[in-house]
């Protein structure tokens, strides 16, 4: 897999933006700013998915995360975080946590160096096959030249991984019921019993 030219430049732009947004997100003072920065990270990640031709995942990522989960987060922040955080951003175990993170980072860097040394990843694969341009076809027929990503994923989802797919829907159902039960107030419980 190689990204060349403008795609590589886009990758670096998106990657640097994602990392910067992530750092700001973790250190943000205000929870809403944090959520906004996380949204930025997610959108830049969606851009990176587009670069590797995973269009469906990119769309699903923005739809589910940004449109659903993060809106929920902002809702809860508004309901919960009435007063400004009292100047203490970090826990008492800040140093311990930082040290653990540092160790994990070291370990990860070592692993990455190993993988890079191994010839496993470093051989040169040919660049991606360029898709042909969509001609303005005079006859009325759908253009086949566009990516088929969503069709393929749909086929896989409904054939080979149909059972995990069903289980995932069950997980979502349980989560919905659980969330309603957890977030319900006592007052409502008294009324409806």
């Amino acid at each position: 897999m190689k990204l060349l030219g403008i795609e590589a430049v886009l990758f670096y732009l998106l990657a640097v933006a994602a990392i910067l947004f992530a750092i700001f997100m973790v250190t943000a003072r205000n929870a809403v700013h944090s959520a906004l920065l996380l949204i930025s990270v997610l959108i830049t990640t969606a851009g990176i998915y587009l670069l590797v031709h995973a269009e469906f995942i990119a769309g699903a990522q923005i739809l589910v995360y940004v449109g659903g989960v993060l809106v929920l987060f902002i809702f809860v922040i508004m309901l919960v975080n009435v007063k400004e955080e009292d100047n203490k951003l970090f826990t008492k175990q800040f140093l311990l946590g930082g040290f653990t993170t540092f160790l994990l980072a070291l370990g990860m860097i070592c692993i990455l160096l190993q993988t890079q040394k191994a010839s496993f990843f470093s051989f040169n694969s040919p660049p991606d096959v360029k898709l042909e341009k969509v001609q303005d076809s005079p006859n009325i027929s759908p253009s086949h030249n566009i990516s088929q990503n969503s069709i393929r994923i749909g086929q896989e989802l409904y054939t080979r991984v149909a059972l995990p797919f069903e289980i995932a829907s069950l997980v979502l159902l349980v989560a919905i019921v659980g969330a309603v039960r957890l977030a319900r107030e006592r007052k409502q419980e008294k009324i409806y019993g």
């Binding site: 951003l89 930082g98 995932a168």
Partner: protein, 143 residues
């Protein structure tokens, strides 16, 4: 300048420099791939995001931000999955499970959504009882 371009940048950006017959003009450089992104770059990006997420989880005090850091970590994992999916698709010409990585990503997104919903429900319930979202003060097993 030349030194930076030829030695420092490649190490930082994990670029494989094209050997002796390097392209000359700027346009050629861009087109022929001075920046030559391969799977390693995706791994580095993913690792960095994951580490930032871990830092957030281990050090922040606001439980909602801890939750968001967990979402960030899951997102970092997703980058790996998608990149490897594409990598194997091209490497094997689509003979082995070319879309499994992307499909696993879908499941990760689904489970992350479910996790966020239940977690936020717990936070709301806890806040109603204790009026705090700081993990320092969540120290009772029962109240």
């Amino acid at each position: 300048m030349n030194l930076i371009v030829s030695y420092v940048l490649p190490i930082l950006l994990q670029v494989q420099m094209t050997p002796t017959n390097a392209p000359t003009s700027l346009k050629e450089k861009l087109m022929e791939g001075l920046f030559n992104v391969n799977i390693n770059n995706f791994l580095v990006l993913s690792a960095l995001l994951f580490i930032i997420g871990i830092a957030g989880v281990l050090t922040r005090r606001n439980i909602i931000i801890i939750f968001m850091s967990i979402e960030l970590m899951l997102n970092a994992v997703n980058i790996n999955l998608v990149a490897f999916s594409r990598y194997w698709f091209l490497q094997t010409r689509g003979t082995i499970d070319p879309y499994m990585g992307e499909i696993f990503t879908i499941f990760v997104i689904v489970v992350a959504a479910a996790e966020a919903v239940v977690g936020l429900g717990i936070i709301l319930a806890y806040y109603r009882n204790r009026q705090t979202v700081a993990v320092d003060e969540i120290d009772l097993m029962k109240w």
